[in-house]
Amino acid sequence: MSSLWQGEVVANTAVGPDIYHLRLRTALPGPRPGQFVHLRCGSSWDPLLRRPLSIHDYNPARQELELLYQVVGRGTAWLAGRRPGDFLDGLGPLGRGFTLPPGPRVALVAGGLGIAPLFFLARVAAAGGYQVTLYVGARSRDGLLRLETLQGLAVEVQRATDDGSAGFAGPVTSLLARHLEYKQYDGIFACGPRAMLAEVAKLAGQRGIPAEVSLEERMACGLGACRGCVVALYGEDGSIAYENVCSAGPVFPAEKIVW
């Protein structure tokens, strides 16, 4: 089962400052929230490597993959130039996704573009009967992305912005911390900047709530072969070893991570 494909661009539209929502027609074998695809972003050898992007959603009936990405460099800039009808060379779904807990109450914590995989998780969890609270943080209101699309789903959305332009004024982790004083969760799932993830891990750890976080690291193969994308993790015996983000992750139990 090879997961190399050519996907046709259906739409590629700006949805925020330098942020694009890409829809691709391609048949993926059962992608799970937290997994990613690895895309060629150019037709020459510069840039050379694929770019990892989280699966933002997948619709098997329409065979439509959705991605949400920010233009931060050459690869994503090239991607933003693709138009409907163009084809993209993709690999995936890759990696291990999130694992929903036995208990029904889950908190999803997204910082900035961290919403990309958590949107998919929110939809799948809600469809699976979970009680989903989605905490979304951004610098300001126009960084709160794609939330309108969640309307109609059984997902409670809690907003936080650094500048207070929408929802809670402050980091999303402060909002989460306040809620954790009186709300119970059976699992916490987070994606966003590393400092935010560390804070979520701390909050969850203090309360004994199982937490999973999605990490980013520079990747080459995306398949577990090159060992280019490692992070330091605690093993069973407390020893530290480097594990591949691409194949052992990108989602890891928060307590395994050497912050």
Binding site: M1, W45, D46, L91, G228, A232
Partner: protein, 305 residues
């Protein structure tokens, strides 16, 4: 027309075609199973195996450069024992010969590795990595001087009957001298090039991109350097050359064969396109057919100068 002959002979091994992975870019094979038929390859080359488990270097370990890749993996691998126990059973049931790449911190470690791999079922040859730029001890230290390289290969030669492929570095003043040194010391083949030493800077953070500061450069960017090394060495030694460095397509592979490589190894290309080797093998065959060449050996070293 009939299918062209693709077999080449290399250091006593019969390869069904001249295409194999470059060490370290293909793991221990399993990772690519879903993407290509491992049994269709000319040979399998493992990631470098060390005597003890090697944790590798701190991340980030890869950085993209113009048409190139810098890596500073640092030979992360589970060590010889785990390799023999957990990786060899999978590898030995494959059809292509398995070439085990070994790396030591000291001459004694190389010798010990060679000794313990001699006679292991399914191991067809050793590739001796004396050219890794990403480790503090061993590696490049042995590959930088013809004398050191020869001393090491001679020591390894004494403890194994397996064919020895010496993997050479381009980070030297005279790669031909190193090649001649290992040839005289008993190497059955040389493979080149390993990566070029390089560095990338993150302007925003004012730091090196790689956790290990510097790394090894591979990919299309280095192809001209690799081709030149292969061409020079192939003219000056009698033992066969395995050419590598920036081979992404069948055209690239053909260029190395013309320059004198008896076989080619594909590295960075696997990381960009997991089907790269399958496409290169198919492309080679198509080229031979199209040009009415019955045997791939006819183009090896056929560059006219």
């Amino acid at each position: 027309m009939v299918k062209p002959r693709m077999e080449v002979e290399l250091a006593g091994l019969r390869l069904q075609n001249p295409v194999m992975p470059a060490s370290g870019t293909f793991g221990f094979g399993e990772e690519y199973e879903g993407y290509l038929d491992l049994n269709s390859l000319g040979a399998i080359v493992t990631k470098s195996v060390t005597l003890e488990p090697t944790p590798g270097n701190p991340p980030p370990r890869v950085a993209e450069t113009p048409a190139g890749l810098l890596n500073s993996i640092g030979l992360q691998n589970p060590g010889l024992e785990v390799f023999l126990r957990e990786k060899m059973p999978f590898l030995r049931q494959l059809r292509p010969p398995v070439i085990v790449n070994i790396a030591g911190r000291t001459l004694e470690e190389y010798v010990e590795l060679a000794r313990r791999l001699d006679g292991v079922d399914g191991v067809a040859a050793l590739e001796v990595n004396i050219s890794c730029p990403n480790v503090k001890e061993g590696g490049l230290a042995f590959g930088s001087s013809p004398e050191q390289a020869a001393r090491l290969i001679r020591a390894v030669r004494r403890v194994t009957t397996l064919p020895i492929i010496a993997k050479l570095s381009p980070n030297v003043t005279d790669v031909v001298a190193v090649a001649k040194g290992v040839e005289a010391a008993g190497a059955d083949a040389v493979s080149l090039i390993n990566t070029l030493q390089g560095m990338a800077v993150d302007l925003e953070r004012r730091r090196p991109v790689l956790g290990n500061i510097s790394g090894g450069l591979s990919g299309p960017a280095v192809k001209p350097v690799a081709l030149y090394c292969v061409w020079r060495v192939a003219r000056e030694v009698m033992i066969p050359v395995i050419g590598m460095g920036g081979i992404m397509t069948a055209t690239d592979a053909l260029e190395f064969l013309l320059a004198g490589a008896r076989a080619v190894a594909v590295g960075t290309a696997n990381l960009v396109n997991p089907r790269a080797m399958a496409e290169i093998i198919a492309g080679l065959e198509a080229y031979l057919l199209q040009h009415n060449i019955e045997d791939v050996n006819q183009i090896i070293g056929a560059l006219e100068v």
